[in-house]
Symmetry: C2
Subunit: 235 residues, 2 copies
């Protein structure tokens, strides 16, 4: 992104520090007012510098947003991976699954604006550059790893799909190329569905679509996670 790494000179050091300060201030503002209202000028004001000066560090508002995007993806990915690793008994797939799901939703609820930046509607004409892909992939990869472990442990799907169509097998080719997991078609379908269900639930919750229907989000999410675990044969 910027200079390679080593802050040899004092200027390089200052640059790195200011870059971090801008990011931190932007992050703060993001959490407060949301991605759409994030303002370069406000960040500059917060740091007591001219707004034009910030453009030496981030060429555009979108660049700044991209940096925040990656940061958030990495934070969420880290939280999810950490939750998984924290389960000592690797064979306790249900426990790992629940830990991962709770970490996912927990982070989203604690950082709703960041979640909206990641999984809400893309900002104006903004299209996330390829740079963000590795960070973004960590979450689905964690889920798939769990599923692969389940297959390795010979766990049977609790609810196998009613026949995976040939067209679907083809459609799944993208994932097969991107990963090395050993996962059967039916299991992969269930995994993708679980992925969609989790994010669907969290988005509907955070964006207010369950507002009047669900009285206890925690309880409902736990039920969903349990049901998905059963479908995936993790228990």
């Amino acid at each position: 992104m910027t200079s390679s790494s080593a802050p040899r000179t004092a200027r390089d050091h200052a640059r790195l520090e200011l870059t971090r300060a801008i990011l931190a201030s932007a992050r703060k503002q993001l959490a407060e007012v949301g991605p759409a209202a994030l303002s370069v000028r406000a960040v500059a004001r917060d740091l007591g510098m001219a707004s034009s000066a910030t453009y030496r560090y981030f060429r555009s508002r979108d660049d700044l947003l991209t940096a925040l995007l990656i940061e958030a993806y990495d934070e969420l990915g880290g939280a999810v991976e950490h939750a998984d690793r924290a389960i000592a008994d690797r064979g306790d797939l249900g426990g790992r699954w629940r830990a991962v799901c709770n970490a996912l939703r927990g982070w989203a609820v604690a950082n709703p604006h960041e979640y909206a930046l990641l999984y809400g509607s893309p900002v104006p004409g903004y299209a996330a550059p390829e740079t963000t892909v590795p960070a973004a992939s960590r979450i689905p990869l964690t889920l798939l790893a769990l599923t692969a472990d389940a297959q390795a442990a010979d766990r049977q799907l609790g609810a196998p799909p009613p026949g995976v169509t040939p067209a679907e097998v083809k459609a799944l080719g993208g994932i097969r190329e991107l990963t090395d997991f050993v996962i059967g078609d039916a299991r992969l379908v269930r995994s993708l569905m679980a992925w969609a269900t989790l994010f669907g639930h969290i988005s509907l919750e955070l964006f207010g679509h369950m507002h009047r229907g669900i009285l206890d989000y925690d309880a409902h999410f736990a039920q969903v996670v349990n049901t998905l675990a059963a479908d995936l044969g993790l228990d």
Copy 2:
């Protein structure tokens, strides 16, 4: 919203017409540039009027957005309901389910910006007013009606959840109060999960999160819909 109804005087008539024209132009712009970039001034320019004049019809940009929101909800709700009603054999629950799901995703794919307005991250500090609730409710209500019909027809769930917790039963109280459907707890859980899965899938697809993994969205969605139908015991 505005005057009650009857455009008695010429002025009332003109007002109604201009209101519609503004909405139409805004709708056009929404489809082109998306919700966040929708500009009152651009709408005014499009109609050849002063931007200040539009404020006589919509008190703020958010008001305009709300009107578009309701319009879009109603359009989507209408499409979904129509797809359901178009299945002559009311006992063909699987057919109705597939029709509804395809109508839902079809509309979303055809109107991505409108979908983003409805189900993406809420605009800045914007919170959808109560006015939008009835229109927004049409979609989940259609799904629940289908589920209620399945229960009435004694269809067994293909994949019952592994026990509905007491906390979850309580959490579902909101829906029970809002609707009169006769739906068992387990079935209701599956219905809500299906709802989340559908919107999760569509959001992940439209917002670019499946970009590299899924090669054929149509095929994958069909597979998901089929699997959900089996889970819900609709076939």
